[in-house]
Each structure stands twice: as structure tokens, then as C-alpha cells.
């Protein structure tokens, strides 16, 4: 093992860090937009297929990321149902692009965004919405003026967990995105490459960065959840 003589991170590694941050941020924002209505629906719906949707949402928790990535590749690739249609519409296929990674990350992190919100909606119960209804607020009005403000802490945990989880993804990216610098070469892939090339020092620098980051995130979640005004509305 040689001692590092160059800078702490090479320009290529910085690029991977920046790309990872961009991916995590984009996926988190897009996912929250999807997760809020989905979590609300899962809390309030009485449909028979609710359990099926709920199980599907949780699937990425236990499914090996490579499996998820593999099926995405198959579906979105030029031979897949979705990919074929996208080509027919004159669009590019998604695998091996940044957009493809965003889609993959959203699926991969779905339970991390939905579950905190869903449990917050559930513990909130029907009462605040009923109170708002008797005060003349319609369904959309009461969702934005009462429900969402009351689950704000859960919103923060959902965002932080999704962000952190996306930063660490590997299997899905490898399957869906490959290793294109500046496009799909994210942190975890860069670490893997360094290890493959026996550049342990560089791998260590990136890995250390990830370790510190992950720890800080979990600490932040703890602090956010530590003070939760409003959830116990009574």
C-alpha cells in the first residue's frame, strides 16, 4: 500500500461526490412529491388492494438492490415495455443516464420516504382533519393547513433518510447506470473502482467521507425526532 502523495480527493473523485449529492438531492425532492400523497392514501384508503400497494412500497427494503436494478434495466431498456414505448415516442431510453438513476433511486428509497410519513399520518388520527372540517375547511384546504404542518417532523426525517439512503446506493446504480464519469459514476461506484485497482488510500478517503456523513445524518434524524411539537395533537 502506498502512502497518498496527491490531494485528499482527486478531481475525478470530487466529480463523483458532486454527482452523488446532485442525485440524492434530485431524488429526494422528487420522491417527497410522490411519497406524501402515497402515504396519505395508504393511511386513509379502505380499498382492498391497499395491502398489495403497501407491500410493494416496502419491497425495496428487503429486495437485493441488484434485483431491483436488473428489472428496471429490463423494463426501461430498448427491449422493455417502457423503453420500447419511449423510443416510439422519440425519447431516449433511461438506462445509463442520470435521469434513469433518479428513477431508480426513487424506487430504491421509496419505503424510506413513505414509512415515516405514513406512521405520522396514522398517529395523527382523524381528529385534526375532522376539527378542520367543522371549521369549514375543505379536504385540500385541511390537508395543507392542518395535516402537513402537524407532520412536519416526519417530513424532515423522510427527507433526511431518503437523501442518506440514496447517497449509499450501489447495486441499483451498477445495474442501471453503469460507470459513466460525470453521468452515473457515483461515490459507491468510485470506491469500488479504487478497490478494484488496489488504490486503497483513495478508497479509504471516500469511504471515510461516507462513514462520517452517514453518522451525521443519523444523529440529525435523532435530533429532529427528539423534539416533536405538534404530533400529539389533542
Amino acid at each position: 500500500m502506498t502512502l497518498p502523495t496527491e490531494a485528499f480527493l482527486s478531481p475525478q473523485d470530487w466529480q463523483a461526490v458532486a454527482l452523488t449529492a446532485k442525485l440524492a438531492l434530485t431524488s429526494t425532492l422528487a420522491l417527497l412529491l410522490l411519497a406524501v400523497p402515497l402515504a396519505w392514501w395508504l393511511t386513509s384508503s379502505l380499498r382492498w388492494y391497499k395491502s398489495i400497494i403497501s407491500a410493494l412500497v416496502s419491497l425495496p427494503l428487503i429486495l437485493p438492490p441488484t434485483v431491483l436494478g436488473f428489472y428496471l434495466l429490463v423494463l426501461l431498456g430498448p427491449e422493455g415495455i417502457i423503453g420500447e414505448n419511449m423510443l416510439a415516442l422519440g425519447l431516449n431510453t433511461l438506462p445509463f443516464t442520470f435521469e434513469g438513476l433518479v428513477i431508480a433511486s426513487m424506487l430504491y428509497s421509496l419505503p424510506f420516504a413513505v414509512q415515516p410519513l405514513q406512521s405520522a399520518f396514522e398517529s395523527l388520527g382523524k381528529r385534526p382533519a375532522e376539527v378542520a372540517a367543522t371549521l369549514r375547511a375543505g379536504p385540500v384546504d385541511r390537508f395543507f393547513t392542518v395535516i402537513l404542518p402537524l407532520v412536519r417532523p416526519a417530513f424532515a426525517s423522510a427527507a433526511i433518510l431518503t437523501f442518506a439512503h440514496t447517497i449509499g446506493e450501489f447495486g441499483v446504480v451498477l445495474m442501471m447506470g453503469g460507470n459513466i464519469p460525470g453521468e452515473t459514476r457515483v461515490l459507491s461506484i468510485a470506491i469500488y473502482d479504487h478497490v478494484e485497482a488496489t488504490e486503497f488510500a483513495q478508497a479509504n478517503h471516500l469511504a471515510l467521507l461516507m462513514l462520517l456523513f452517514s453518522f451525521s445524518i443519523l444523529l440529525l434524524v435523532r435530533l429532529v425526532n427528539g423534539r416533536q411539537p405538534g404530533v400529539n395533537a389533542s
Partner: protein, 369 residues
């Protein structure tokens, strides 16, 4: 068309007309009654008798299966229509104050108020704040208030939607004794002035006699009686007359004050009664509760007695009571029914029969204020 017209005129006579049926689990709810503007009606019954479910149906928080609900001529629910709660002109006070924890008191109060068009506001913001004495709390968070203060905010918040019907679900049940007294005082002050029908759920006779003029009695989901408070309290085939604290509620007026003995005289049908001195002017209406066990009977007017309240009455009828050694006697006090609980032995010794003229001796009278 004719059907609609009939519904409308029928509803025109009363502020709220309720006729509903609902099957929910093991509960089968069935109620039919009407309430007038300015009246305060208690939904009374044991827990599990369907009081809250009935109230939620009136608010539209729950749908009933059959029947109709008409408020001020507007159909809120029938076989084809259902008006959702946010489009009904109701004020609803929940069992717990249920304030919005993310808003301060002022914003809690303004939540409903801001959603009412200015032209439809009959109760102004400062008015409600004044009634419930909330000015010192406006900038506080709900968590900084006591239970009673929170419930005052909840009541003011409901009133600020200028409701045409006020519904309250056991508004006092989550409070301690002091909180209850506090809220009762505020409610009494406000309810009469509103001029809208008020319906509240209660299982406490004490709350009912203090606030309500009318009562709807529920048992296992079925409405067993409805009508003026004293009629239901003294009706021998209803459970209320057989409660340990069975009582009659009588409307009186202040006759005058006796400064020497520190007493206030109240005019009751057939006579007058003295109560500890109260600062109300002559002629003010007062309600008093007389417990059945505090009324004893005599054939001739007792002359030497420490009981100062003796009222001439006519015996209506005698009923068996829960305790076989006692009987419940209904007495007519110039149109008002008074209950007396005496031993079966005394009833026989006095030779009580219907239509007999008697003297009721009242041991104690509770002012309802």
C-alpha cells in the same frame, strides 16, 4: 316537487328536524326529534348509548343510512343528498379541546373565522374573545393552557364560524371539577344569547339540569323520550325518576330579598321558597332543582317545623321505586310536576290516593346557576 315543498314547510316550524336510522356494528341508532331556535337540548344516556354517534351524524362527520336531517329548511342529508361537514353551518366542540398544536391561540380562533365570508359573520372576533375571556392567551401555544382554558378556546373557535347549530360532545368530560365549573359558567352566559339551537351530549345529570331546557333520552341507540327537561325528569316510566338523585326542576322568579335573614325569596307555583341571598334583581328568572328525597308529605299544614318551605300540592299518582321499601309520588304544583320519595309505610299510613290535597315540605332546594 310536492314532497320537497312539504319537507320545507315542515322544517320551517323548527330549526332542526332529525329523523335518522343507522346500523353500526352492534349499535342500532334510531332517533326522531325536532329542536327550536334558541333552545338548549341535552342528548342524555349511558356511555355506549349512541349519543356521540348521533351528534356526529348531525355534523356530517358520519353518514346515517335512512332518514333525513333538515336544518333551517336546508336538507343536510336525505336519501339522495349529503352535505359534507365543511359545508354545514355548524359549530362543533369535541370532547377534548382538539386545538391545532401548530398554531397559537389567536390563529386557532381565526382558523374558522377566516373561512366565513364577512357578510355572514354574526359573531365578531373580539366578541368571542370577550365572552370566553381569552385576551391574555392569544399569543400563547395550546400546550401552555390549562384544560379549562383550552376548552374555552375550542368553544370560542366554534362560535366564530357563526354557526346556525352548535353541537358539543361532552365538552366538560375531560376536565377536573374546577375546570367543569369554569366552563359551565361561561356556557350559561353565552348559550342563551346565541339564538340558535344548541345540542350537547352528556351523561351527567348535573350538567344537564344546569344547561338544558330540553332533553333527548337515548338507550342502546334508541331514542326513548324527548321533551322539556322537567317532564322527562319526572316521568315515572323513564329511568331518570328512579335515579338516586331523582329530582324536579322548577322555574321561579325572584320575589324579593330578606336582608335580616340573608335570604332571597323565590316565587314558585303555589307558594314561595327561601334560598341563601343572591344578588339578582326582583323578577329575574331562576331555576331550582328539588331532589325527590328532600320532599316529604303531610296531610295538614305543619305549624311547628324548621322547614320553612311548605307548598300545597295535589297527588297525581304513586309508583313503585327501585328500592321496594320506598315509593315515588308525583305531585302537581299548579301544572308543574314535583317528585317525592317516601317510604311505602308512610304512604300507607297517610292513606295516599290520587287527587288528594297535600302539603309538600321541602328540605332543601338547589339553585341552578
Amino acid at each position: 316537487m310536492l314532497h320537497e315543498y312539504l319537507l320545507y314547510t315542515e322544517a320551517g316550524m323548527s330549526a332542526l328536524s332529525v329523523d335518522l336510522q343507522l346500523q353500526q356494528g352492534s349499535l342500532c341508532l334510531c332517533a326522531k326529534f325536532e329542536v327550536q331556535n334558541g333552545s338548549v337540548t341535552a342528548l342524555f344516556g349511558r356511555s355506549g348509548s349512541g349519543k356521540t354517534t348521533l351528534l356526529r351524524c348531525l355534523a356530517g362527520l358520519q353518514r346515517f343510512h335512512r332518514g333525513s336531517l333538515i336544518c333551517h329548511g336546508e336538507v343536510w342529508q336525505d336519501h339522495q343528498r349529503f352535505v359534507p361537514p365543511h359545508q354545514r353551518a355548524i359549530g362543533y366542540v369535541f370532547q377534548e379541546a382538539s386545538l391545532f398544536e401548530h398554531l397559537n391561540i389567536e390563529k386557532n380562533l381565526a382558523y374558522g373565522f377566516n373561512r366565513i365570508p364577512t357578510s355572514q359573520r354574526r359573531i365578531q372576533f373580539d366578541e368571542a374573545v370577550h365572552w370566553m375571556e381569552l385576551a391574555p392567551f392569544l399569543q400563547k401555544r395550546p400546550g401552555q393552557l390549562s384544560g379549562g382554558q383550552r376548552q374555552r378556546v375550542a368553544i370560542a373557535r366554534a362560535l366564530l364560524t357563526s354557526p346556525r347549530l352548535l353541537l358539543m360532545d361532552e365538552p366538560l368530560s375531560s376536565l377536573d371539577h374546577q375546570g367543569k365549573q369554569e366552563i359551565l359558567t361561561y356556557l350559561e352566559r353565552v348559550l342563551g344569547q346565541l339564538g340558535i339551537p344548541v345540542i350537547f351530549v352528556s351523561h351527567s345529570p348535573q350538567e344537564v339540569i344546569r344547561l338544558a331546557q330540553d332533553m333527548v333520552l337515548l338507550e342502546n341507540g334508541t331514542m326513548i323520550a324527548n321533551g322539556p327537561l322537567n317532564t322527562l325528569l319526572t316521568q315515572p316510566d323513564l329511568p331518570l325518576a328512579h335515579f338516586e338523585e331523582a329530582m324536579s326542576v322548577i322555574h321561579t322568579r325572584v320575589l324579593g330579598h330578606d336582608d335580616h335573614y340573608h335570604q332571597t325569596w323565590l316565587k314558585v307555583p303555589g307558594g314561595k321558597i327561601a334560598v341563601p341571598q343572591k344578588p339578582y334583581p326582583e323578577g329575574s328568572p331562576m331555576r331550582v332543582a328539588i331532589q325527590a328525597r328532600d320532599v316529604s308529605l303531610a296531610l295538614t299544614p305543619p305549624t311547628q317545623s324548621s322547614l320553612s318551605t311548605i307548598l300545597p300540592v295535589t297527588l297525581i299518582d304513586i309508583h313503585a321505586d327501585r328500592d321496594p321499601s320506598q315509593v315515588l309520588v308525583r305531585l302537581d304544583l299548579e301544572g308543574t310536576t314535583l317528585l317525592s320519595r317516601i317510604t311505602r309505610r308512610s304512604a300507607d299510613q297517610l292513606g295516599l290516593t290520587a287527587g288528594l290535597a297535600l302539603y309538600a315540605q321541602v328540605k332543601s332546594v338547589a339553585l341552578i346557576e
